[in-house]
């Protein structure tokens, strides 16, 4: 789960990291009131789950209330990477001297929390890694010991020469590690970590992802999920414990298992069609889940055919068949449904479908070819 900059900053602040004040506005009036409260120059920052906000015109300096209003009016409602800006962060502008990068994530290779820091901040770190790998210092934290004090200093030493700044940065790095472990994050990025002309080190932008599997432990973070940032169908899918990702095609896919679901989408493309979605109904699916899945797929008006690809393992063919029959009774499905059903309880499933006048293919290639044929015919 990605969270917004202002939410990530709340977590960093709670862990003691120096972060300038800032609050969120949803209207130009609120923005002006906040700017007046802070006084002086402020930054108006779009809160969307996307990089490149600055380039898209979503981050602006404002020296007067008239400018605050003007920028707020422009940024609220603007679209960045397909996401509508509903909130802006108003924060006092800082007197920036230098910009560095400090990030921590779970590295797949070393299977441990890993810091990546660079004195070259404020820009895309992947680009730095590519063009100037020597400008990056990496440290894998040994989970036996946690982050040790001298390691935090080793990282901080690569950012600054001035001992006062190194000391502040080392403290921030330790606090960042605490924030990372205590919130169940999978990634936190401070970019940039600035120094001011008066010699202070501060985090002025932050990006953070929480591991979805940790959320049961952090009820206080569940409210950070921004429902406006995800399509309604994806919210509904999540609530029904289905994995769903909307795509641009017209072949609606309903599959059990993530790998098979991806392979089904790929096969649709192979036979000349375009998948409308990724949808994994998961294991041990009950008929209700199948009904929800069909409601979600049919809510996409692009869908011209619905393709089921079910290979029973934990998922039982009769459960899925019951769900399909139940859904066709309850919802008005106007597009054809093609089904492939094999594996656990295949025979029982086929009998249930047969009684309802539906039939099924036994191979994945056949059912996908048929689905694409239907779309192309009509």
């Amino acid at each position: 789960m990605n969270i917004h900059e202002y939410q990530a900053k709340e977590i960093l602040r709670a862990n003691g990291i120096p972060v300038p004040p800032g609050e969120v506005a949803t209207t130009p009036e609120e923005a002006v009131a906040l700017a007046e409260k802070y006084g002086g120059t402020v930054v108006v920052k779009a809160q969307v789950h996307s990089g490149g906000r600055g380039k898209a015109g979503g981050v602006k300096l404002a020296t007067t209330t008239a400018e605050v209003r003007e920028h707020a009016e422009k940024i609220l409602g603007m679209t960045i990477s397909g996401l509508k800006v509903e909130k802006i962060l108003i924060t006092p502008a800082e007197d920036i001297d230098t910009e560095a990068y400090v990030g921590i994530l779970i590295d797949r290779g070393s299977q441990a929390a890993t810091f990546i820091v660079s004195a070259e901040g404020g820009i895309d770190i992947e680009e730095v890694a590519h063009t100037d790998p020597d400008a990056i210092r990496k440290l894998t934290v040994d989970s036996h010991y946690g982050l040790m004090g001298h390691q935090a200093y080793w990282l901080a030493n690569s950012l600054y020469g001035e001992p006062g700044l190194v000391k502040q940065a080392a403290k921030i790095i330790r606090q960042l590690y605490d924030a990372f472990t205590s919130s169940g994050a999978s990634m936190i990025e401070i970019n940039p970590l600035i120094t001011t002309r008066s010699g202070e080190v501060k985090a002025i932008d932050a990006k953070m992802s929480i591991d979805d599997s940790e959320l049961f432990r952090h009820p206080e973070l569940v409210g950070y999920r921004d429902l406006s940032a995800e399509p309604a169908a994806e919210t509904k899918a999540r609530e029904a414990a289905l994995s769903y990702v909307k795509l641009d095609g017209n072949v609606g896919c309903c599959v059990n298992g993530a790998g098979l679901a991806m392979a089904t989408m790929d096969l649709v493309k192979y036979y000349g069609g375009e998948p409308a979605n990724f949808l994994d109904i998961g294991g041990s699916s009950n008929p209700e889940k199948v009904v929800s899945a069909l409601e979600i797929i049919t809510s996409d008006s692009n869908v011209k055919v619905i393709l089921f690809n079910i290979f029973g393992g934990i998922t039982r063919g009769d459960d899925v068949a019951r769900g399909i029959v139940e859904a066709t009774r309850r919802i008005d499905i106007e597009v054809p449904i093609v089904i492939r059903l094999t594996g656990t309880n295949e025979k029982e499933g086929l009998d249930i479908l047969g009684e309802a006048g539906l039939s099924a293919f036994s191979s994945m290639d056949e059912v996908v070819e048929r689905a694409v044929e239907i779309v192309n015919a009509g």
Binding site: I106, R108, G109, Q111, A112, A113, E126, D142, S143, H144, T181, G184, S186, D211, D212, S213, E214, F216, R217, S243, V245, L247, V255, N256, G257, A258, G259, L260, A261, M262, A263, M265, D266, L267, V268, K269, Y270, P275, F278, D280, G283, S284, F311, G312, G313, I314, T315, T342, G343, T344, S363, M364, D365
Partner: protein
């Protein structure tokens, strides 16, 4: 021969009285796996009744289960909040293979559990994996027993049902398997492609390998490199997720293209560059394996 599990496997099921643990213990016993113990804290002293009326003793802890029964392998079916702890307990009790089926285990929990298992010399398979089956010998996990048949092909996959899809094509074409291993769809897994390939390389009966990967991470690329440097037998590969958009998690927690890294295209290209024949569709795996086996 086979890898990871065979007729010498003595299995303890962690979470044997839970819904999934119960169901799959019956399935594993029906397949012929020697299930010697179960663990559910608080239910020690009870017994689990197998499909043939066998009585499998239940213990409160892994320590008791292993010292009483000599179990050498464990299967973890406990809920996500306790799964990493179950893996650690199994490693501490001294089993050599821990198959973690549970999906949705917190990643930071697993970082610690993997480190602990490594330090105790235990191999972890998963989490979020379908387990492993050596046809005709033993199965640990949830792979349906009726889709496999003994033979010369080793199968390694990150996915569950996609593995079944590939394996059923092989079985229907009369091509059997030594072992089918599901390594799991999480970002941190205990046994990766290279580890599984190494195990197959040491198995004299495995004459060819099918590797089924997906988007996300660089495990497949590293495996391809390893294949070209170390492996003497042919490998056929398939990658799922060619149509997956970047930045979106496709079901599996590990299946996400970050930036330009971990795409299906990149993985397929690395396969080809390292002499791995790439199947365009799951059905094409059969022809490629036949070509590799019978040249």
């Amino acid at each position: 021969m086979a890898i990871l599990v065979d007729e010498n496997t003595k299995l303890v099921v962690q979470g044997i009285t839970g819904r999934d643990g119960f169901f799959h213990t019956v399935q594993m016993m029906e397949y012929g796996t020697a299930v010697v113990a179960g663990v559910t804290p608080g239910k020690g002293g009870q017994a689990f009744e197998g499909p043939g009326g066998e009585r499998v003793p239940i213990f409160n802890s892994m320590d008791e289960a292993v010292s009483e029964t000599g179990a050498n392998t464990s299967a973890v079916y406990v809920p996500p909040a306790f799964a990493a702890s179950a893996v650690e307990e199994a490693a501490d009790a001294g089993v050599s293979l821990i198959v973690a089926i549970t999906e949705g285990v917190p990643v930071q929990d697993m970082a610690r559990a993997h480190a602990f298992a490594r330090d105790h010399g235990a191999r972890v398979l998963g989490p979020n994996c379908p387990g492993v089956i050596s046809p005709g010998k033993a199965k640990v996990g949830i792979i349906p027993g009726n889709i496999v048949t003994p033979g010369p092909v080793g199968v390694i996959s990150r996915s569950g049902t996609l593995t079944y899809e590939a394996v059923i094509h092989l079985t229907n074409a009369g091509i059997g398997q030594t072992t089918c291993v599901g390594i799991g769809g999480d970002p941190l897994i205990g046994t990766n492609f290279v580890d599984a390939l190494e195990a197959f390389a040491g198995d004299a009966e495995t004459e060819a390998i099918v590797m089924i990967g997906e988007i996300g991470g660089t495990d497949e690329q590293e495996a391809a490199q390893w294949v070209s440097e170390h492996l003497k037998i042919p490998v056929v590969g398939f990658i799922a997720g060619q149509t997956a958009p970047p930045g979106r998690r496709m079901g599996h927690a590990g299946a996400i293209v970050s930036g330009s890294s971990g795409t299906a295209e990149e993985k397929m290209k690395t396969f080809e560059e390292n002499g791995i024949a790439v199947a365009e569709r799951p059905a094409d795996i059969v022809d490629l394996i036949q070509g590799a086996l019978f040249v």
